[in-house]
């Protein structure tokens, strides 16, 4: 996507020439890490992974510490649920990072797994894992990508005209005018782009 490439260059901010791959490699490690972290629901995903590890730890620490496979057979169905839910939570946490496009699905799955863990696995890892999963899933769900240069929308209408028309049409009436850049950055850019257009048609 051209818009994304342009965004990368803005983020790097160092080289005036937009040679696309080279500046990215030259960026300092910290800055790369920061932009990686900010470009996905990092903290929500991290909490989901921690929830999974915690649910893992209670039935399995015997196996993990002692390396005894025999214990797994011994643990039975309760332990199996703990392991299964823990593994799925870790997976959904990682998928919110590496497949951020579908983070809505993975974050809801994480929340549901967290709730299910309460009867299925040691009272949700003695509440801790369940709470981590619910909070982490909700943060990952609430994470919304922003775009710094909303080019296609800027072509369609100017923010000054758009603000009143948007409220008149009922596009999220509680959104303040100061949040206009955000409005353009809603994850569904399509309806936001269509809204003002149809608004203009009505006017």
């Amino acid at each position: 996507m051209t818009a994304d490439d342009a965004g990368t260059v803005h983020e790097a901010g160092s080289g005036p020439t937009p040679a696309v791959p080279a500046p990215r490699h030259r960026r300092p490690r910290l800055a790369r890490w920061r932009s990686w972290r900010r470009s996905r629901p990092f903290w929500g995903g991290l909490l989901l992974v921690l929830a999974g590890l915690e649910l893992f730890a209670i039935p399995l620490s015997g196996v993990l510490i002692h390396g005894a496979i025999k214990l797994v057979i011994y643990i039975g169905i309760g332990g199996v649920f703990g392991v299964l839910i823990g593994a799925l939570l870790i997976l959904s946490g990682l998928m919110t990072w590496f497949n951020a496009t579908h983070k809505t699905f993975y974050s809801i799955a994480g929340i549901v797994l967290g709730i299910v863990s309460f009867p299925a696995s040691n009272l949700g890892g003695l509440f801790l894992g369940m709470l981590l999963a619910i909070i982490g899933g909700a943060i990952a769900f609430a994470w919304t990508p922003l775009r710094e240069t909303p080019e296609p929308i800027a072509v369609l209408w100017t923010p000054d005209e758009a603000a009143p028309e948007q409220t008149a049409l009922g596009w999220e009436p509680d959104r303040e005018a100061t949040e206009q850049p955000d409005a353009a950055d809603e994850e569904s850019a399509k309806p936001a782009g269509l809204g003002p257009e149809s608004g203009a048609a009505l006017a």
Binding site: M1, R32, S35, P59
Partner: protein, 193 residues
Amino acid sequence: MSVDKNSSSVRGKVKWRRFALVAVPAVVVAGTMVGLTAEGALASSISVSGQEFTITADQLNGTGFAQFGGALPNSSGGQTPVIVSAMQNATMTNLCQSVTVLGLTIHLTAGGGGGDPVSASNLVVDADSQTAGSAVFNNISIGQDAGTMGGPAGTFGEQASSVTINKLVQKTWYTTAGTFTLPNLSLGFGASC
């Protein structure tokens, strides 16, 4: 979509209204499940291993009781001798269980306050110490080969059709139960049993 794994330039932020949109219903559902469990209407599955934790109960009534010696591998590569107790069904009054997870001691009490006792099915406990005020066994056979009860063959075991233990205190390394019904559940931090 604008967000794929290559577009590391797309930044995002957490919108707290969206957070509340899912967190509030999730907390309500979770709270309902906690409430149902605390009323004893919902059974939960318990399986803990690998760390020592304490279980106390004022009284334990069990049916289908079997007990034999066993060993769990420990972190130093050796074996920790344990007493394996298995019960098909068990009820416990004033159950208290405390466990230390990640340096935090969590203690759980249930079945107190004169209400229904805690009930568990397919309970297996591996304890390295077990004390009791008094114990009553019915139809006990002592010295039965543990191999007939799922333990190591050729070792000592005992079996009883039912058992009543008062003032039970166990230090256990491993507990599992198919279902645990925990009326009057309460969970707290800090104190051990």
